[in-house]
Amino acid sequence: MPEFEEVVERIKEMIKRAHTELPEDVVRAIRKSYEAEESEIARKNLEIILENIEIAKKKGLPICQDTGLPIFFVELGRELELEFRIEDAIKKAVREMTPKLLRPNVVHPLTRKNTGDNTGIGMPMINVELKEGDRLRIVYLPKGAGSENVSAIKMLLPTDVERIKDFVLEVVANSLGLPCPPIIVGLGIGGSFDMAAKLAKRALIRNLDSMNEFEMEMLEAINSLGIGPMGLGGKTTALAVLSEIAYCHTASLPVAVNIQCWANRRSEVII
């Protein structure tokens, strides 16, 4: 049976890893786009991004100062016995990592008062899912505001399946350089209003090398826009498109687009 303090430590380690070491698949995709770019400005930006990744890893510093909102996906084995609330362990880990690694980002939505420790009502955001077995898997996806702010959701008409692509292109085109391109596009199709958004976010924890044909096609269309790294023009606007679907009502077609910056920080721990 896992002990509370042990789990807190493992979560803290996972938080640090996410902020200082970008996943290999993401680094590979950035390198590939650097090789493909021809414009000097696009190459310079990607060069700095790659150098930044190296510095962060070597010095144990956060890749980006926007250490985001703390978002966790928890898979809890039905047979696992815990003598504590997993939410409490996550909350404690987040508190202890602020502000030495995490910038205090969490504020009251109306008074805008900062809690100082990245916790508050609904924060950290913890999604719990029950699974078979006795395993505890936690995935951490810190989400920066620059890319979150340009994300969008739309309830399309059920006859508008062909318009999904147009909507995604419209969202990306409107965002230009704001979300720190090259971006990763999380796409949630179906379910309900809230579920589509959740699917879009969940898609972002997938490996970039796992794209299917539909996603590759979307990626090509997005890259033809020419927004480029940091919105200063170029071939790489997005590194990947990742989608998730759920069945929906015959009368509706919810589509959510969750934009993620190039710093697609994520990490996981299995206990």
Partner: protein, 183 residues
């Protein structure tokens, strides 16, 4: 090319697409600091720091024990609406950020200001170009929103993305996208 703060007329020679490195003192400011600056200007209250000829960096750094841990740029567009009021009475000013300005900001910058794009998300890289923290104003706004006075050396490469003649790389990219989407 090197640019030293406080800046002077040399910034009016910069053209969109040029690459510059910044030395000297920069002031960080984002949403809340901009709102407070404009509020004070409207009420005729003196600011505790000098914005004229300054380099304003759109950044909410992580600073621990007076050391900069990470300090990349934040999205500048959230500050667009404050720009006309801020540049109005200044001789020259340089903004550093990411993503550029929209709306009336670009027009207001003509003959007054240039906008430098620094790679978004490059927080650790940016921190390596910051030599020390010289001071802080408005700490009541919180770490990310306070105005930090940072001494930088060869801060860059920064790309002149909006020059003082109103030429904006972002506008060019935007125009190309509109044309492409029309097809």
């Amino acid at each position: 090319m090197k640019l030293r703060a406080p800046v002077g007329e040399e910034i009016f020679d910069l053209k969109a697409g040029d690459i510059v490195y910044v030395c000297g003192e920069v002031l960080t400011a984002r949403d809340k600091a901009h709102a407070r600056i404009v509020e004070m200007l409207e009420k005729g209250i003196d600011l505790p720091f000098n914005l004229n000829r300054a380099v304003v960096y759109h950044c909410g750094p992580i600073i621990s024990e007076n050391k900069v841990i990470a300090a990349g740029p934040t999205t500048s567009d959230r500050m667009s609406s404050f720009v006309p009021k801020i540049v109005e009475k200044l001789d020259a000013v340089v903004f550093i950020g990411k993503g550029g300005f929209s709306g009336k900001a670009v027009e207001a910058m003509k003959g007054k200001a240039v906008y430098l794009a620094f790679t978004g998300g490059a927080g650790a890289f940016a921190a390596s170009k910051i030599k020390n923290v010289k001071g802080v104003f408005w700490e009541d706004l919180g770490m990310a929103e306070a105005v930090w006075v940072l001494e930088v050396e060869n801060f860059g490469p920064c790309i002149v993305a909006i020059d003082s003649k109103g030429k904006s790389i972002y506008d060019e990219v935007r125009k190309r996208i509109i044309e492409r989407l029309r097809k």
